[in-house]
Amino acid sequence: MAQWLIKNGHLIDPANGLDDVLDIRIANGKVAAVGKSLSAEANDEVIDASGLVVSPGFIDIHCHLREPGQEAKEDLLTGTASAAAGGFTTILTMANTRPVIDQAIIVAGMKHKIQTDAVVRVEITGAVTKGLEGKELSEIGDMAQAGARAFSDDGYYVNDGRLMRAALEYASMFNLPVISHSEDCCLVADGVMHEGCVSAKLGLKGRPAEAENIAVSREIMLAEMTGGHVHIAHVSSKGAVDLIREAKAKGIKVTAEVTPHHLCLVDKTIESFDSAFKVNPPLRTNEHIVALIEGLKDGTLDAIATDHAPHAYEEKDCEFNEAPCGFAGFETAFSVLHSCLVQTGQWNLQALIHKMTAGPAAAFDWKDRGHLSVGGLADLVLIDPKKEWVVDPHAMLTRGKSCPFTGMEMVGQVVRTMVDGKWVYQDGKIIRN
C-alpha cells in the first residue's frame, strides 16, 4: 500500500485545533504522523502542498444518490464521483429512492452495491415511515441493525405528530437521529417559492417561512418529550434558527444543518422564472440569510449539508410550477461558500471547514470521521484556495446538470480527495482502484 508524505500544506483540522503549515504522513490507510518538517521515509511518495489547504475530508449528512430506481438522474458511480470531486469523503444518502429504503434488506442491498461502486464512504438513511407515506413506522430497529445511520422521510414532513413521537422514541433506543424535513404541509399547500414580495409580484404560490417555523417547533417539543435526537434538515428561516438556538440552550437534543444555496441565494433569482432555482425549502430573503450565518457562527447550526438532489436537465426544463425541486450540490458546495462568505470577509475558512468536517461528525456522533488524528482514518482533501473557475454543469461529474450557480465565478476549489489512504480524485478526474 502506498505511503504519502504531504508537505508544506496549510493544515486546518478544527477537531484537533490545528491551523498551521504542517506535514502529514499517510500509511496503511491511516494518518501516521502530523508535524513540522517531517522527513520522508523510504516508501513515501512526497507531495508538495505549498499554497494548498489540507483538510479532513468533508462530510455531507444530506444528499440524494437516486439509486436504486432513478439511475438516469444519478447512481452510486456518478454520485460518489461527484461527491469526491467536491471533497466529500463521507456522504449520507436519503431514503427517497424507488423502492424507498424502508426495510433492512434494501439497506443491505445498498451496502453491497456501495462496496463495488462507490469511491467515497456512503452511509444510509432509512425511511421513518413505510414508503414515505407518513402512515406506519418502517422497521427502524431492523434497519438500524442492518447499518442504517439515521432515519428520515426527507422531502416530506411526518405530518402525524403521534408517528413522529414514536419514531423519535424508537430510534433513540438505537442511538440514531431522526432527520426532519420541517415544513407544515397545510401552510405550504401548493406553494413553489418563498412567500414574500417576489412571489406576490410574480403570482407564483408561496411557501411561508412560518410553515418551517411551526414544523420545527413541533419537532423540538417532541424531542424534549421523548429524549430522542431530532436533526433539522436544511434550515432556511430566521424563525427556525431562533427556535433551535433556544432549544439547544435548554439542553434539548436537537441538531441542524444548512445548505450552501440557502446561505448564498435569494428568492429574487426566481424573477427569471428559471427552474434551476426551485428547491425545498425555498430560497428566501437576505433577512433569513443573515440569521442563518449568525446561527452558523454561534453554533446553533451544526453543519453544512448539500442536499445534493440531481435531476436530469430535461426534467427541470419546463414551466417553473411543473419543475422538480432541487439540484446538484456536491461539486459547488465548498467553492460557493468560500467565494460568497469567506472571500467577502463575512466568515473564515477555519469555521467553514469546521462546519463541513467536525461539525457534521459531532452532530451524528461519528467519532471516526471529520478529523486527521494520528491513527485515524486517512480521509482528506487538498484545496487550492486561490483557484479561479466558473461553474459549468457540463464539466461536472454528476448527472444532474441543473445548477443554480451556473456561470458564477468562483475562488477556491478542491483539487485532490483521499479516502482511506487512497487518492480517489485528482484534477478533475476520478481514480478508481
Binding site: A200, L202, D317
Partner: protein, 307 residues
C-alpha cells in the same frame, strides 16, 4: 418595438406604453370603419396558442391579426397534454417549426411566456400566464381610462376583488403606476398579499375605503373555487361585504369609470345595476381590446402602421 416580446408591463417602458396607446387610438378608428382590413401585416403569420380556454382574449387577438392582414391560426393546446408526455417545450418547438412571426400565448403557469422565448424566434405575446401578467389587458384598461378621463396621471384607481390570483391586477398595477396613477387595492385580506405594498400600492380591506373618491373602479372576477379553499366563507358574504353595488359606488367620484375584465359573476363581485349602469365601460373595454392588440401586433411585427 419591432421584434420585442410583450411579456408583461413590469418591464415595459413608459415610452413604449404611450406608443401602444397612441397607436391603439388610431387602430380604434379602423375598427369603426366599414372596411376594416389593413395590409400592415400582409404575409405575416400569427399563431394563437391557448393552453387555457378564453374565447374573449383569443377572438380579440384573432380579429386584431386579421384586421391587420395577417394569417392567423389557433391552436387549442390542452395543459393535459403534459400528462400525455407532450411538454410545453414540444408544443413550442412544433409551433417554431411552422415558421410563424408571432406567438400569442395563454398558459396557466406563471412565466410560461418568458419560457417560450427560450425556444421560439418569433415575437412572443403573453396573453396571460397564470397569476403573473396579462399585458394586453393592462394596456386596454389604460386606454379605456385615458379615453374616458383624458389622462391617467393623478387619477385614483381602485382595483377590487381577488388580487392574489389575478394577472389582470398585476399588469394593471404596473401600468397604472408607471403612468402616474394612484393605485388602491380593495378586498378581503385572504385575497390581497400584504407584500404587494412593495409594488407601490395602497391596500384596504374595507372596500368602501378603496373606492372612496376613486376615478376608476376596476372590479375583478371572483372564482368560486376560492371559497372552497377557505379564502372567504360564502359567496353571499362576499357580495354583501365586498361586492360593488350602486350604493357603494356613490362613494366614488361623480364621473367614475367602472371596469371589469370579464367574464362577470353578476350579483357576486358586481351587481347588475353597476355592470350595466351608466358608469360601466365594460363594452368599451372589449372594443378597446381589439384596438390595443392591433397596436401591439403592428408595433412588434411591422414597426407601426402602414395603412
Amino acid at each position: 418595438m419591432r421584434g420585442q416580446h410583450i411579456l408583461g408591463l413590469e418591464h415595459m417602458s413608459v415610452a413604449d406604453i404611450e406608443r401602444v396607446l397612441n397607436t391603439a387610438d388610431e387602430m380604434k378608428k379602423v375598427t369603426k370603419q366599414d372596411i376594416k382590413k389593413l395590409s400592415t401585416l400582409r404575409g405575416k403569420a400569427i399563431v394563437n396558442v391557448f393552453f387555457e380556454n378564453s374565447t374573449r382574449t383569443r377572438s380579440s387577438f384573432e380579429l386584431a391579426g386579421k384586421y391587420l392582414g395577417a394569417d392567423v391560426i389557433n391552436i387549442a393546446a390542452s395543459t393535459s397534454s403534459v400528462a400525455k408526455g407532450e411538454s410545453l417545450r414540444d408544443t413550442l418547438l412544433t409551433v417554431q417549426a411552422m415558421g410563424v412571426d408571432a406567438i400569442v400565448m395563454r398558459h396557466s403557469a406563471e412565466g410560461a411566456a418568458q419560457y417560450a422565448t427560450r425556444y421560439v424566434k418569433a415575437v412572443v405575446i403573453n396573453a396571460g400566464d397564470g397569476a403573473h401578467e396579462h399585458p394586453t389587458q393592462g394596456l386596454l384598461d389604460l386606454l379605456t381610462i385615458r379615453q374616458h378621463h383624458g389622462s391617467i396621471a393623478g387619477k385614483k384607481v381602485a382595483i377590487v376583488g381577488d388580487i392574489l390570483h389575478s394577472r389582470v391586477a398585476r399588469s394593471n398595477i404596473w401600468g397604472l403606476l408607471k403612468m402616474g396613477a394612484e393605485v388602491h387595492l380593495g378586498g378581503p385580506k385572504t385575497l390581497i398579499p400584504k407584500e404587494m405594498l412593495d409594488m407601490g400600492v395602497t391596500i384596504h380591506h374595507r372596500v368602501e375605503d378603496a373606492i372612496a373618491d376613486a376615478d376608476v373602479v376596476n372590479v375583478l372576477r371572483i372564482q368560486l373555487e376560492r371559497q372552497k379553499k377557505g379564502l372567504f366563507p360564502t359567496p353571499r358574504e362576499y357580495a354583501r361585504i365586498f361586492g360593488i353595488n350602486d350604493e357603494r359606488l356613490k362613494l366614488a367620484k361623480e364621473n367614475v369609470l367602472v371596469m371589469h375584465p370579464g367574464p362577470m359573476n353578476r350579483g357576486l363581485e358586481i351587481s347588475p345595476d353597476v355592470a350595466y349602469g351608466r358608469f360601466s365601460a365594460i363594452e368599451e373595454q372589449v372594443n378597446n381590446g381589439v384596438a390595443v392588440r392591433m397596436a401591439v401586433l403592428s408595433l412588434t411585427l411591422a414597426d407601426g402602421v402602414q395603412a
